[in-house]
């Protein structure tokens, strides 16, 4: 009996709930799935991951196989769909990671102590908890290096009000960031 005929019969038995036939079917189709996937893959190791995705998909869609149709085209359609799906996800993740690396490289140029790089997200998060005006004043003085007098002129405030705002911001940030220690 040919593979195709055998698989068809096993699939029909599996639809009836025959666990043994189903196990045989999945075991027999696994090498066929891997062989169908592997050609043209940039990394042959992916074949195992995709093959397992295909097995799970076969399990999920067993009700969509019709016994008046050959089994192989049905299986091939699932293989092709899962292969494309896997590659699409893989390259999407790769693109996100690459973008992340570019950001990390850019940040590392601007951070003096490289060991503190991971803390940057905490600091940024803490600054965002300040009221918008306080954030602005804090950044102008502590990040951009303006004097209290320049900020006061820019924000149309008194110099002492600017200093009080920075003092409050620093205290609040110390409190928040202290919780992360």
């Amino acid at each position: 009996m040919s593979d195709a005929q055998n698989w068809k019969e096993l699939a029909v038995k599996a639809q009836d709930g025959d666990k043994r036939a189903y196990s045989t079917l999945l075991t027999e189709i696994l090498p066929f799935i891997k062989a169908s996937i592997i050609s043209g893959l940039a990394n042959p190791d992916w074949a195992d991951d995709i093959a397992q995705d295909v097995l799970i998909s076969v399990h999920k869609s067993l009700n969509s196989y019709s016994n008046d149709r050959p089994f192989k085209p049905w299986l091939k359609a699932i293989i092709s769909f899962r292969r494309t799906d896997f590659l699409r996800k893989h390259y999407k993740i790769k693109e996100i990671n690459e973008r992340g690396q570019i950001n990390a490289e850019t940040l590392s140029e601007k951070v003096t102590f490289q060991t503190d790089l991971s803390e940057l997200s905490y600091i940024e998060g803490a600054i965002l908890t300040l009221p918008v005006k306080q954030q602005q004043i804090f950044k102008m003085i502590k990040v951009e290096g303006y004097s209290a007098k320049e900020v006061a002129q820019e924000m149309q405030m008194s110099v002492s009000a600017v200093k009080v705002s920075v003092h409050r911001s620093v205290n609040k940030l110390k409190k928040i960031l202290g919780e992360h220690d």
């Binding site: 189903y22 999945l26 195992d48 399990h59 869609s61 009700n63 149709r69 699932i78 769909f81």
Partner: protein
């Protein structure tokens, strides 16, 4: 390598253990039928509540109007049938080019609309709120829900095409219902109030196909 082999074997053992008797999906024609019956019955009920257009006696004898309705029904039914075939991974041996039938019918419909359109009409297009928007929403709600419920049970390998066909079948049916209830035959009104909302909604739904029909 041994570890990978073991994990595949473990997966097979686990899947086999989980197996229960499955109910095989009916033929695509049999899956389209319930949708068609539900959608038509719903349309009849809503039309009877909203009321037929006042000049229906005249329009029913107008060959152009009857042809337009038949044309739009053909788009709806062929798109729904395509969706039923697209529900199955291998489409039961059909080529995905079966969608050429509803798409070609839609193209003819659009070309006929363009033929009736002239640039002067563009000033008559009014996108402000009109009862037709609400009617369009009411007409499409249940058929859209029904086709979604039927399609989501399938396992499509063409999620975008299936989503497009579902949108087309619901949109065409809704358009036909609007033609039976709204008295306006003005092409500016038809395009802005009856076609564009369905078209935009259809494009959005089709674009979300992969997310909607994930399996």
């Amino acid at each position: 390598m041994i570890k990978e082999k073991q994990s595949a074997e473990e997966l097979i053992a686990s899947l086999s253990d989980e197996l229960v008797k499955v109910k095989v999906m009916p033929h695509p024609l049999l899956r389209t039928l319930p949708w068609f019956l539900i959608a038509t019955a719903y349309m009849v009920i809503v039309i009877s509540i909203i009321g037929l257009r006042t000049d229906i006696d005249v329009k029913i004898n107008d060959n152009g109007f009857v042809y337009e309705l038949l044309h739009i029904f053909a788009i709806s039914i062929s798109a729904a049938l395509c969706s039923s075939w697209l529900c199955v991974p291998d489409m039961r041996g059909r080529s995905k080019w079966i969608i050429a039938i509803p798409v070609a019918l839609l193209a003819i419909f659009i070309l006929e609309g363009i033929n009736r359109f002239n640039i002067g009409i563009i000033h008559n297009i009014n996108m402000s709120w009109h009862h037709c928007y609400g009617d369009a929403l009411v007409f499409s709600a249940v058929p859209a829900f029904a086709i979604l419920a039927i399609s989501i049970k399938g396992n499509t390998t063409h999620p975008y095409l299936m989503s497009l066909m579902n949108s087309l079948s619901v949109g065409a049916l809704g358009y036909a219902a609007l033609r039976l209830t709204c008295s306006s035959d003005d092409i500016a009104h038809l395009s802005s109030m009856h076609i564009i909302p369905y078209l935009l909604f259809g494009i959005i739904i089709a674009a979300l196909g992969r997310n909607i029909y994930r399996w």
